[in-house]
């Protein structure tokens, strides 16, 4: 994954010779009446990838999607789609198609006419339109509903129509604006896998906006994490999860304990809340960048709990809270001798006896299970 999305001076170099990126965003800024929505965003979306824009609401991800689709024009910066400058091209002349948050199906047309809409505008022949619409309805599994109005369909079905309608015009880039947000959980999980399957089948580049980190992790080849109109980090789901560059990313993706260091790491040792622990090797080597290691991210599931622990960092603690998750249990514990709290998520074996609140236990972690953060 390229590093060009890092907040910093926008890179001006063109894409690698040969295959242009599906989307190249360079230094894009956008403000609405003084409120900055995008603050110098640069992103490369590789051709044929499933790319997610992930962030809390108000981070600018939807605005960025609307800049790519052409509904908003950037105040500064450039946008290339499939190697061509599209910064000032109106939406109807861009090789993009959008799946809207509430799907935006045309209520006065049936499913077939909705899907055929873009093709009719292109003056495609009747036979070809019919064949193409049939093909798409088969792709999304709606062959039997072609004569129905959108209002006669369930949410999941409407979502599929929106997808088929957007794919019908064979866009270079398919833009999806939180299309699963209004579906219930079970259907959402099913549609996630379905979207991924369809993306693999058609090979089109998908740019997917979501605030749901689980959704982004499940589907994406790459994720750009955004906050306050800036890109925080770009990487594969695993990179983002295992090597977050900031406390924000570490906290936003998955569940984690953020431990602040009392003073810089010295001789491979660090102090947290007055206690000394072994630091991760990376932090000992100086951490990321010049700022050094200022904090640690320690994922819930990497904290171990028990009477006998064979890891290098061990502390005595008391259980303060117990939460059942079915497949696992979360313990919130307080370390002895200081105010430091930790949350540990422990898989359930089915034969263990959960610790009650107030129980005295030991918690520990492998020094390298923690991630050094510069901020």
């Amino acid at each position: 994954m390229s590093d060009q999305g890092q907040a910093g001076p926008p890179h001006a170099e063109p894409s690698q010779a040969g295959v242009p990126h599906a989307v190249e965003i360079r230094g894009v800024r956008k403000a609405f009446q003084g409120a900055v929505a995008l603050d110098g965003v640069s992103i490369d979306v590789p051709d044929g990838s499933f790319f997610s824009l992930l962030g809390p609401s108000g981070c600018g991800k939807s605005t960025l999607l609307r800049v790519i689709s052409g509904f908003e024009s950037p105040d500064a910066g450039t946008l290339h789609i499939a190697g061509r400058d599209m910064t000032d091209t109106p939406p109807n002349r861009r090789p993009t198609a959008m799946v809207f948050q509430r799907w935006a199906l045309f209520p006065h047309m049936n499913v077939r006419d909705n899907v055929a809409y873009g093709l009719r505008l292109r003056k495609t022949g009747k036979q070809r339109i019919r064949a193409r619409v049939d093909e798409l309805l088969a792709l999304v599994g709606l062959e039997e509903h072609s004569a129905k109005r959108p209002s006669q369909l369930s949410g999941g079905q409407q979502q599929r129509v929106a997808l088929a309608r957007a794919l019908a015009i064979e866009p270079r880039v398919l833009l999806l604006d939180e299309p699963l947000a209004s579906l219930d959980l079970k259907l959402r999980l099913q549609m996630q896998l379905e979207l991924k399957r369809i993306q693999r089948e058609v090979g089109t580049t998908f740019v997917f906006v979501t605030h749901d980190q689980g959704e982004a992790m499940t589907m994406s080849d790459a994720i750009a994490v955004m906050k306050d109109g800036r890109v925080q980090q770009i990487g594969s789901p695993q990179e983002i999860y295992d090597e977050p560059r900031s406390a924000f990313v570490a906290d936003f993706i998955g569940d984690t304990n953020l431990l602040e260091l009392d003073e810089p790491v010295r001789d491979g040792r660090m102090t947290v809340g007055g206690r000394t622990f072994a630091a991760p090797d990376r932090a000992a080597a100086g951490g990321e960048g010049d700022g050094g290691c200022k904090a640690l991210s320690l994922r819930y599931e990497r904290v171990r709990v028990g009477e006998e622990l064979d890891c290098a960092n061990v502390a005595d603690a008391a259980v303060e809270e117990v939460v059942f998750f079915g497949g696992s249990i979360r313990y919130r514990v307080r370390l002895d001798g200081n105010a430091q709290e930790l949350v540990a998520e422990v898989p359930r074996t089915g034969v263990e006896t959960p610790y009650p609140i107030g129980a005295r236990i030991r918690v520990g972690w492998d020094p390298n299970a923690a991630i050094a953060l510069a901020s």
Binding site: S69, G70, F71, P90, P91, N92, R93, T96, A97, M98, F100, Q101, R102, A104, L105, F106, P107, H108, Y117, G118, L121, R122, S151, Q152, S154, G155, Q158, R165, A166, I169, S182
Partner: protein
Amino acid sequence: MASSSTFRAARVRRLILHVITALCVFFVLAPLVVVILNSFSSVSYNKFPPPGFSLKWYENIFQVPEFGNSAVYSLVLAALSTVLATVIGAMASYAFVRGRLFAKGLISGAILASLVVPKIVLGVGLFVFFAKIGGYGQLWSVVVSHAVISLPFVVTLVSAAMVGLDRSLEEASRDLGASPFTTFRQIVLPQIRVSITVGALFAFIVSFDQLESTIFLLKPGTETLPIALFNYTIKHQDPTVAALSSLMILFSVALVIVAAVLLKRGNAMEALRRTQESQK
């Protein structure tokens, strides 16, 4: 007992409400009933209730050539001004709801102003205006004047319908390759068709019934139906006017019923769509 006295108070309140409603309906309908009953009178002077029944005043309508000519003129005038008001009104509504207009409030205020300006004042103003620019007495100047008076009805109805439209539908259309004009025709228009039709019906009625503003705009010799009626009443007092008025009331009521049915069907469809959507 507290509960029974509250109950009685509610009943009294409802009774008062019913009485007021009945009085309102009575005062609106009574003049119309008098006109319609009188149109079947057997005598030529005004006497209510009429002493006998006859259809001679309806026959008499056709003996007065001014009525026929002016009716044709009024229908042509109403048709033309309706087309003008509807086209401009629909476009203006779209601009008000979707566009980034300079001085939007001022412009929409100006369009709606003809609702509150007394028609007779408007008529004098239009007369002076058209006399100055040279359109006095010509059909087109009356068409334009009636369109101005009808415009608020079209704009109010169509804007209300357009406010409820989901903007992302238009964006979806643009996104799939449609120009702004194609998007309006294919996506916006079908969804506001009912409101536009009803707006056009209102525009037609408003133009067809218009007297005060028109009276200044026409040269002697050309007449709209309301003006012909007015002139006839000055000379004659017989129930021919009542007969013709009854026909005009019938015509207007028919148009309003068509409008109401269309609106109701549109609303019902809209309501159905909304409930179905909210259930998901």
